[in-house]
Structures are given as structure tokens and as C-alpha cells.
């Protein structure tokens, strides 16, 4: 269970921080151009940070006590394959969920 003071600290700080990230150039920096190297790094935030965040959860799911789970692993691969192939976010979610339930049903 999440502690109340933790939760509200996170909500408020994250709200302020996210707004600051959105306002930083628009509001403060104005029309000055940004260095290329900075923009080049920012381009890869989503494709680096999100996989880094979930890789341990895919391989060692907390729900199984950290034990690698074939159903969850297969579900992850199904979502990757369909996402790469169709470029469709919802299609990839559906494929991952379908594989997860199929795997849990057959292997669980």
C-alpha cells in the first residue's frame, strides 16, 4: 500500500516538475536556439528510459516473487513483435494481453 504523504509529495512534485520541463524553453529560454547535442539526446529519452524501466519487470516480475515467468515473457515478446511489425500501439497492447492470458491459461 502506498503511503499518503508519499503519494501527495509525488503528485505535486511531478506536476510541478512536468510543467517546468514543458515551460522551460517556451517560457524562459525564448527564441534562442538549443545546442544540437542536447536535442540529439532528448530525442532518445522515450526509447531508452521506458525499456530500461520495464526490462527487469519483464524478466523478474514482482508478482511471481522475481521468478522468471514464461507467460509474462511470451506476452512481452508478442507485444514487441506486433508493435514492430504493425507500428500500432493498441494492436501491440491487445497482442501482449492475449498472449499473457493464453500463457497463464496453458502454463499457469
Amino acid at each position: 500500500m502506498i503511503d499518503q504523504s508519499t503519494l501527495w509529495t509525488v503528485i505535486i512534485s511531478l506536476g510541478l516538475g512536468s510543467f517546468a520541463l514543458r515551460f522551460v524553453f517556451l517560457g524562459v529560454v525564448g527564441n534562442r536556439p538549443l545546442p544540437d547535442w542536447l536535442l540529439r539526446h532528448l530525442r532518445y529519452t522515450a526509447v531508452a528510459v521506458l525499456p530500461a524501466l520495464i526490462a527487469p519487470l519483464v524478466l523478474w516480475p514482482p508478482a511471481t516473487g522475481g521468478e522468471t515467468d514464461p507467460a509474462r515473457l511470451l506476452a512481452a515478446f508478442a507485444a514487441i513483435a506486433v508493435g514492430l511489425w504493425t507500428r500500432n500501439v493498441i494492436g501491440a497492447i491487445v497482442a501482449g494481453a492475449a498472449m499473457l492470458y493464453l500463457g497463464l491459461y496453458l502454463l499457469g
Binding site: 516538475g17 520541463l21 517560457g27 530500461a52
Partner: protein
């Protein structure tokens, strides 16, 4: 003769299809947040204040792992670093607006409003500030209510969903589904693979710090591949 009404409705039309993507995504956030112990009001406040799906999922996931607050905020803000890039590329178009309006633009800067607006500004170089602002808020008009409304729906139904649904895995699947379609170039794929490898290799670090370090190493790897491809003339 350009009116401000027409760019607004053009923006509205461009934003409307994204509601289809936001409905399952925001519903899922409501469900996952409720499962993690957030009340309906708390989940809704988070969507209203943060307005960034991936960062919200990240924060909820790490909070339920009992990671220290500082790390939760740092990780979720790292996920949101791309918003700074959006802010930077909107600035040449909207930077001349009054500060209050710029603050409002900043609040409404999400993946969809940014992507639609920048594409429209490039397609309509004759647009003045007024038309550009109208278009931007046109895109935002259908998106924000959908985001909040379906967070509410998700958090209302979340409490009724049984544990056998394995919702712990909703976040990993959603993030994979968000990332896989945008792995367009070799630089993007290298960034993702390096980040995954580093994250697994650094899993021993306390407080999930390995995730943040791995994210930055992945970003640097992607940027370096792009730099080399540009130098060799193979970057398109």
C-alpha cells in the same frame, strides 16, 4: 482569408482520432492506479496535475515497489524529459505569445498536441501566431477531457477487477506497445537495446537507480549512433 476559427477546427479534427488511443490508455491508468491503492480522487488529481501517461505509470509502479520518493520523482521526470524537447521545438512558433498563454500551451503540451501542431505549422507556413495558437488549442480540446474522463472510468471499475487478471503486467505491456512502434531508425533501436542491457546489468543498484542510469546511457548511445550516421551521410 484565414480566420482563427478554421485552424481551431482543423486542430480539433486532427486531435479527435487520438481519443481512440487515449481511451484504453487512460482507462488502464485508472485501473492500475486503483490496484496500487490510489483513491478515485487521487488518480484523477494525478491525471489532472501531471498530464503525462508514461510518467504517471512510472510513478505508480515505483511507488508500489516502495522505492524512495526522491527516486520515484527523478525516474518519472526522466521519462518526461522529452517534454523539454517539445517545448524547445514549439518555441519558434509560439514563443511570441503572452506569458499566460505560453503557460497554458506548456500545460497542454503532450505527445499528440506537439506532434500534430508541429506538422501543421510546417504545412502552413503562412499561419500567424493567432492561427498557430488556435490550432494548438484545437488539438488539445478533445484530448484533455478524454484523458481525465477515462482515468475516472478506469479508477471506478479498477476496484472490481479480480487479481487473476494479472494486471501487474499491464504497465510493461503498455510501455512495450508505446516504444516498439517508434523504433524507426537504427539509433532508436540501439538506444532501446543498450538501455535494456544496462538496466538488467545494473539491477543490483539500490532504489532502482540502475533504471535511471541505464536510461541515460541508452540516450547517449542513441545520440552517438545518430551522430555517426549523420557524419557518414547515412542518416535520413
Amino acid at each position: 482569408m484565414q480566420t482563427t476559427k478554421s485552424p481551431y477546427w482543423q486542430g480539433f479534427g486532427a486531435g479527435a482520432p487520438f481519443v481512440l488511443i487515449l481511451v484504453p490508455f487512460s482507462t488502464l491508468f485508472g485501473v492500475v492506479a486503483t490496484e496500487a491503492g490510489l483513491s478515485v480522487l487521487e488518480a484523477l488529481t494525478m491525471s489532472l496535475v501531471v498530464v503525462a501517461g508514461a510518467a504517471q505509470f512510472t510513478a505508480v509502479q515505483l511507488m508500489s515497489e516502495q522505492v524512495p520518493v526522491f527516486i520515484v520523482i527523478l525516474a518519472a521526470l526522466t521519462v518526461n524529459l522529452r517534454m523539454a524537447m517539445y517545448s524547445a521545438s514549439l518555441t519558434p512558433h509560439l514563443g511570441a505569445a503572452p506569458v499566460g498563454l505560453r503557460a497554458l500551451v506548456a500545460y497542454f503540451t503532450v505527445d499528440q498536441t506537439y506532434a500534430c501542431s508541429v506538422a501543421a505549422y510546417e504545412a502552413n507556413p503562412d499561419w500567424q501566431l493567432r492561427q498557430k495558437l488556435a490550432y494548438f488549442f484545437g488539438v488539445a480540446t478533445p484530448i484533455l477531457p478524454a484523458w481525465l474522463g477515462f482515468t475516472l472510468v478506469g479508477s471506478l471499475v479498477g476496484a472490481t477487477i479480480p487479481e487473476s487478471w494479472a494486471l501487474d503486467f499491464a504497465i510493461p505491456i503498455t510501455f512495450i506497445a508505446l516504444v516498439a512502434p517508434i523504433l524507426r531508425t537504427r539509433a532508436h533501436r540501439v538506444a532501446a537495446l543498450v538501455a535494456i542491457a544496462m538496466s538488467l546489468a545494473l539491477a543490483w543498484m539500490p532504489y532502482s537507480l540502475g533504471v535511471i542510469v541505464a536510461g541515460f546511457i541508452g540516450m547517449a548511445a542513441g545520440a552517438e549512433v545518430e551522430r555517426r550516421m549523420v557524419a557518414k551521410g547515412t542518416w535520413t
